[in-house]
């Protein structure tokens, strides 16, 4: 089948999403298996099987059939949910993804089907389903199907289905869909031939027919929707009535009854996670640009309307709408960090088995919303860190018991605003081993006496590892280096804290978003700059005496603490300000307090960060730029690099003096 066919690629994409969901379902099943969960797994498999066959993924469909069989048994209570079943199911799921990646039936899929792994998997599935039928296990109580929850007693559904004219070309097979409906219960099918043209005008590649199917079934609505899940180029309407079957035949012609809205509504996915749309990030940026312009136009409008009292309420309305639109657009980019946490459950489960350590993963704060681009780049390094924790941090069960710790180790993860901490209750970092290794590798001189946190930072050096032997998991010293590179690229920082015998905590400090920040608007002459509010501690007035000081002292005494300050005029190479009432913004960078002297503080502003072009990327001290309400461009100050630049300049000047 043609790979470029949009219907096929839609199937592949949807199937992939469904299989991702399946992984989570299976892992949930392990901890808590109720009938509804089992039904959900079964439905998922059934969907992939049915639509796989329809789109030319016969191998996938056949394999899924065996998998589905196993869960059919679970559903009937003839097979219990245990670790073995979950293991097997997870492997089967991976195999399904591999089959999906082959892009349909062909030599690739056939070869994959013949690999020893696949054969063993099929044998194992056959064993489960076969063995169980010979000697039904004492059905686990949780696996006993409750007849009620998902099955509603005899319901009659009317399904109106009309493929779009070119649906057949895209690979839709209405006959298979209707046959699948037949599998759900007893059906009566009526065809609507009203749109059929005269024979002379008939194009056999177009679909002219519609069907009305009356289905009596005890299956829920979601089962019917699942049949049509990939048939999205069709009008679809599903109506149900709880009845004793009515005697008259409710088949009615569908001519002139276009129901696009109903089609939309009834095609919801059966998954509990709501429907989602994939959008290229570039399009979102485009919307943001347009919005920025809208905000500016709106600002101009309200300026003009200030002389026209009649316009005032309209302008206010527009302003409210524009603000709402901007917030909604920004929120599109945000995702709960939970989506990455989901991946870790599988990693932890697989690694536990591989390393022979019992490990629990506890995640907290999964609802924290983070920019999608941050999340995408974060998932790899977080996996690295979890692997590290499990391999190096958590001791084997025997050692843990000897140390009086529970046999089960824990790895914790908290996503709190901008702090992501990975914490384990393992052995802790071995400061002496790190020191020895660092000296051996020439990163430290043997006399150096670095502080603990400095020493721990060495684990981020490329190729650094104190593991005595390599495992398949870690020890090559690649991981932490990659972590640091990613975090730096995201404008974040990494901190390590560790106590021997008690555990290790690695904290990533990250900006919540790369797209938007709360900023403090400051003025220097007639130029406006934005300082990220997150790094601002307080604002104070600059004493007149301080300004006139000629001794060269540049520090303030704020509540008994000495705070150095920088005059931004000097840092930015501007002419010295002549204004009389200047202010100091106290910021925190790299754990240090620093004052930035500005002419005035204008207020707070939520700003959309735009990255600087390649011409300005290397200019130190700026994190990006933004467009202000009046349409002017303001630069966003990056406090950390600004401080570093100032320090470097000072250092350059020192030897000359």
């Amino acid at each position: 089948m043609d790979e470029i066919n949009p219907a096929v690629s839609a199937f592949v994409q949807e199937a992939r999403e469904i299989l991702e969901g399946l992984e989570a379902l299976l892992l949930d099943l392990e901890s808590d298996s109720d009938a509804e969960q089992i039904d959900a797994v079964f439905r998922t498999l059934h969907t992939v099987k049915g639509s796989g066959a329809m789109f030319g993924f016969g191998t996938l469909s056949r394999f899924t059939h065996h998998f589905e069989d196993a869960f059919d048994r679970v559903r009937e209570g003839r097979l219990s949910v245990d670790g073995r079943l979950i293991d097997l199911s997870l492997k089967a799921r991976d195999h399904m993804i591999a089959l999906l990646d082959c892009g349909g039936d062909g030599p690739g899929a056939t070869a994959l089907e013949a690999t020893p792994g696949a054969v063993a998997l099929l044998a194992a599935l056959a064993e489960i389903t076969g063995a169980a039928s010979v000697a039904p296990k004492g059905a686990a109580p949780q696996a006993t199907p409750e007849p009620a929850p998902s099955r509603t007693a005899g319901r009659r559904w009317t399904i109106r289905f009309r493929p779009e004219p070119d649906a057949l070309r895209n690979g839709m097979r209405p006959d298979l869909l209707i046959a699948e409906l037949g599998g759900l219960g007893s059906v009566e099918v009526g065809a609507d031939i009203g749109a059929l043209p005269a024979l002379a005008d008939l194009d056999p590649t177009l679909s002219h027919l519609g069907w009305t199917v009356t289905l009596d079934t005890d299956q829920p609505r979601s089962a019917i929707e699942a049949v049509f899940i990939f048939a999205d180029d069709a009008e679809l309407e599903i109506t149900g009535e709880v009845t004793e079957p009515a005697p008259e035949n409710p088949v009615r012609p569908v001519v002139g009854q276009a129901q696009p809205a109903a089609g939309e509504a009834s095609r919801k996915k059966p998954e509990k996670t709501g429907e989602s749309v994939r959008v290229p990030a570039g399009k979102l940026d485009e919307i943001m640009d347009q919005l920025g312009e809208l905000v500016i136009a709106q600002a101009r409008l309200s300026q003009m309307a200030s002389h026209e009292p009649e316009l005032e309420s309209v302008v206010e309305e527009v302003e409210r709408l524009v603000t709402g639109l901007r917030d909604a657009t920004l929120s599109i980019r945000m995702l709960p960090i939970e989506v990455v946490f989901g991946k870790f459950r599988r990693v932890v489960r697989d690694l536990s088995a591989e390393l022979g350590k019992e490990v629990t993963l506890i995640t907290e704060g999964g609802e924290t919303e983070i920019d999608k681009t941050v999340i995408d780049r974060l998932s790899e390094p977080l996996v690295h860190m979890i692997r590290n924790s499990m391999d190096h941090g958590i001791e084997s069960a025997g050692v843990r018991l000897a140390a009086g710790k529970p046999a089960r180790g824990t790895v914790r993860q908290e996503g709190g605003e901008v702090l992501i901490a990975i914490e384990d209750d393992g052995a802790g970092l071995d400061a002496e081993a790190i020191r020895a290794k660092a000296i051996e590798r020439g990163l430290l001189t043997s006399e150096a006496q670095p502080g603990e946190s400095e020493l721990y930072q060495l684990i981020f050096a490329p190729g650094f590892s104190t593991a005595k032997e390599l495992s398949s998991v870690s020890g090559r010293g690649v991981g932490m280096d990659a972590v640091r590179t990613t975090v730096d690229a995201l404008r974040g920082a990494v901190e390590v804290a560790s106590r021997a015998g008690l555990g290790t905590r690695v904290t990533l400090r990250l900006p919540v978003t790369l797209a938007i920040i709360d900023g403090l608007l400051v003025r220097l002459g007639d130029a406006v700059f934005v300082i990220p509010l997150a790094s601002v501690e307080e604002c104070v007035e600059l004493d007149a005496a301080e300004r006139q000081r000629e001794s060269g002292r540049t520090m303030l005494c704020i509540r008994e603490h000495l705070v150095p300050f920088l005059d931004l005029d000097v840092v930015f190479g501007r002419d010295p300000s002549t204004e009389t009432r200047r202010r100091v913004v106290i910021v925190k960078a790299d754990g240090q307090r620093l004052g930035l002297v500005v002419d005035d503080i204008l207020g707070q502003h939520q700003t959309v960060i735009k990255t600087l072009s390649q011409y300005h990327r290397d200019v130190e001290g700026f994190a990006g730029a933004t467009i202000l309400g009046d349409g002017s461009v303001a630069l966003i100050i990056d406090v950390a690099t600004l401080t570093r630049r100032a320090l470097a300049e000072r250092a350059e000047r020192k030897p000359a003096a």
């Binding site: 600087l612 300005h616 303001a634």
Partner: protein, 166 residues
């Protein structure tokens, strides 16, 4: 795009007439392929970027996008001028070091879009101008006038300052 080939210095291939935008800098006519031109704007407020390289001193807001302003006068070693009533901002969209980039240049005046035959492109003779030669593709005749066809690839290259000094 036919313009991609027009970038390479192969005048023989460019038998087809090329549309160019003519603009003025200190009275001199310069030409740039229209396929790079995104729009032409009246001067708008610009934001100076402290500590930036001298040839790219500022940012402007072009319809919600933040666009760097390239000072081509500086690259061509012309003295700075204050924008006058005829000054126009020309927004270009072209690949810079392989990346599609939108940028703006300030011109003293925008004159016309005209057709030119690149076969008639003449090289600037040695000592013919003070401009760094790698920013210039050659001279074309527009009627009785001369127009300098700019080599955009070098002119807008972020690192071009170094070969210019070497």
């Amino acid at each position: 795009m036919t313009t991609a080939s027009s970038l390479s210095p192969a005048p023989n291939r460019a038998a087809a007439p090329e549309m160019v935008l003519i603009f003025r800098l200190s009275g001199e006519a310069f030409a740039i392929s229209v396929s790079w031109v995104h729009e032409i704007l009246d001067p708008i407020p610009m934001t100076t970027v402290p500590n930036a390289a001298a040839y790219v001193p500022a940012l402007v807001n072009v319809r919600g996008a933040i666009v760097p302003l390239i000072d081509i006068r500086h690259r061509l070693r012309m003295p700075p001028v204050t924008p006058g009533p005829a000054s126009r901002l020309v927004v270009l969209e072209l690949p810079v070091a392989g990346v599609p980039t939108r940028l703006a240049i300030m011109t003293d005046a925008v004159e016309e879009v005209t057709e030119t035959n690149l076969e008639a492109l003449e090289l600037v003779p040695d000592l013919g101008a003070r401009w760094p030669e790698h920013y210039i593709r050659g001279v074309v005749r527009i009627g009785d006038d001369l127009a300098i066809l700019l080599e955009t690839e070098n002119l807008f290259c972020p690192d071009a300052e170094r070969p210019a000094l070497a």
